[in-house]
């Protein structure tokens, strides 16, 4: 491996016997290349290239004052519930009426899939609400209420906030889940597992 390049002087050696041997100035670079790549590998493995990104989360003030609280209209609201195993449940409105679940189409389950998932639901609702007009005649904004159940993970939470950014929904809020919502999730889960067996 480590040898000098002497090929040019080797061929005519017989006839140039008296000539003193010319030393080549070329150095074998192979070990140096080895060292270089070793260091590259080391730096590639021990360092980070991409810096982490951050997502801003601005939380509302806890206020007891009724006047400061924002009121959400039933018609512009969409409630999203995060359950276990990355399931997403949603229904239109705020479900102030506990008998709303009598309608089988009211409480629906979906997923975070790119197609036919929660994104399509959000887009549909957003466009529907944009058709509505408020008292001043301006288009309404959809208000998304996010309620995460206790067995939801942080990933689900970030994913749903990300969906808000992806679909450019300006108004959303993370709210504590109610017992009514928990019960609906349980009912849907038992209905689904019962149907599968």
């Amino acid at each position: 491996m480590a040898e000098m390049d002497t090929s040019s002087s080797g061929a005519g050696k017989k006839h140039q016997g008296t000539k003193s041997k010319k030393l080549s100035t070329r150095v074998d670079m192979t070990p140096m290349v080895d060292l270089g790549f070793l260091l590259i590998t080391f730096f590639m493995l021990t360092t980070t290239m991409s810096k982490p990104k951050t997502m801003d989360l601005i939380m509302p003030k806890d206020t007891k004052d009724e006047k400061e609280q924002n009121k959400v209209k039933e018609s512009t609201a969409l409630t999203i519930l995060l359950g276990k195993n990355n399931r997403v449940y949603y229904y239109a409105g705020l479900a102030q009426d506990p008998n709303a679940s009598a309608n089988p189409d009211f409480f629906k389950a979906t997923s975070f899939a790119n197609k036919n998932g929660i994104r399509d639901v959000l887009i549909k609702k957003r466009d529907e609400v944009a058709q509505l007009r408020n008292a001043k005649g301006e288009p309404e904004d959809v208000v998304v209420i996010i309620k995460a159940n206790d067995d939801a993970t942080y990933k689900n939470f970030v994913d749903i906030l990300d969906e808000m950014a992806i679909n450019r929904i300006q108004r959303y809020a993370a709210v504590d889940i109610s017992d009514q919502d928990k019960q609906w999730i349980r009912q849907t889960e038992t209905a689904n597992t019962g149907g599968a067996q």
Binding site: T54, D56, D162
Partner: protein, 221 residues
């Protein structure tokens, strides 16, 4: 008498160019990257489309692992020094210089304040095995998380660029995140940063269209 010489081809290759390339790459990697920060736990953050960079300094970072253990870290050794001195005098921990130094130069810390002395006396490798690495308690009965935030905030001394970051794992249970958010809310801190990794914007969505729309719009301004 002229003799036709057959030039014998050498098998050795000139490595100079390759060497140049290798060291060029080496220089690039040395300059463009930084060492992975020492972490007590490995955390895989969820991905989002946000492109805002996490700042290098003026950050109070809480790392939350899969089991919901909370770890505290903060940049700036003088600030860490002030903080541990404050904690030491306030809670009468009786930390010696060595333990304090461990906190100042060390990585994240995640234990109850009453165990802090024993925790800091250990080397980073020993902590994992000791069972003291239980995370900072954040439940309402014993909310030490707010203590840490308060002391860290004091140590930062009213820094206007200060940001609170939460770096949680994909599998962290949501109730833990809710507890942390509630703690910050109680401290009247409304703005949090969630650390995420980058993911591409799905095509055809509003954000993708807006991004495509803003590029030429900015030019016309």
């Amino acid at each position: 008498m002229p003799k036709v010489k057959m030039a014998r081809k050498s098998t050795t290759i000139d490595m100079t160019a390759m060497c140049d390339v290798a060291f060029l790459l080496l220089t690039f990697f040395m300059l463009a990257t930084k060492f992975k920060p020492e972490e007590p736990v490995t955390v895989v953050t969820p991905s989002s489309i946000n492109t805002k960079l996490l700042p290098d300094s003026d950050v109070i970072m809480f790392t939350v692992d899969t089991k919901g253990r909370i770890f505290f870290s903060m940049d700036g050794q003088p600030k860490r020094k002030k903080m541990i001195e404050d904690l030491n005098s306030q809670f009468k921990l009786g930390l010696d210089q060595k333990a304090m130094n461990n906190f100042i130069v060390g990585a994240s810390v995640g234990t109850e304040i009453k165990n802090l002395k024993a925790y800091l006396d250990m080397k980073a490798e020993e902590r994992k095995a000791s069972g003291l690495e239980t995370g900072i308690p954040s439940d309402s009965a014993n909310n030490e998380l707010s203590t840490w935030v308060n002391y860290a905030r004091t140590a930062q001394g009213g820094n206007p660029r200060l940001q609170y970051c939460i770096k949680a794992d994909n599998g962290t249970p949501y109730p833990k995140i809710k507890e942390i958010m509630q703690t910050f809310k109680d401290l009247k801190i409304q703005k949090l940063n969630l650390v995420t990794s980058l993911e591409s914007i799905p095509p055809g969505t509003a954000a993708a269209l807006a991004n495509a729309g803003t590029a030429p719009a900015k030019k016309s301004e």
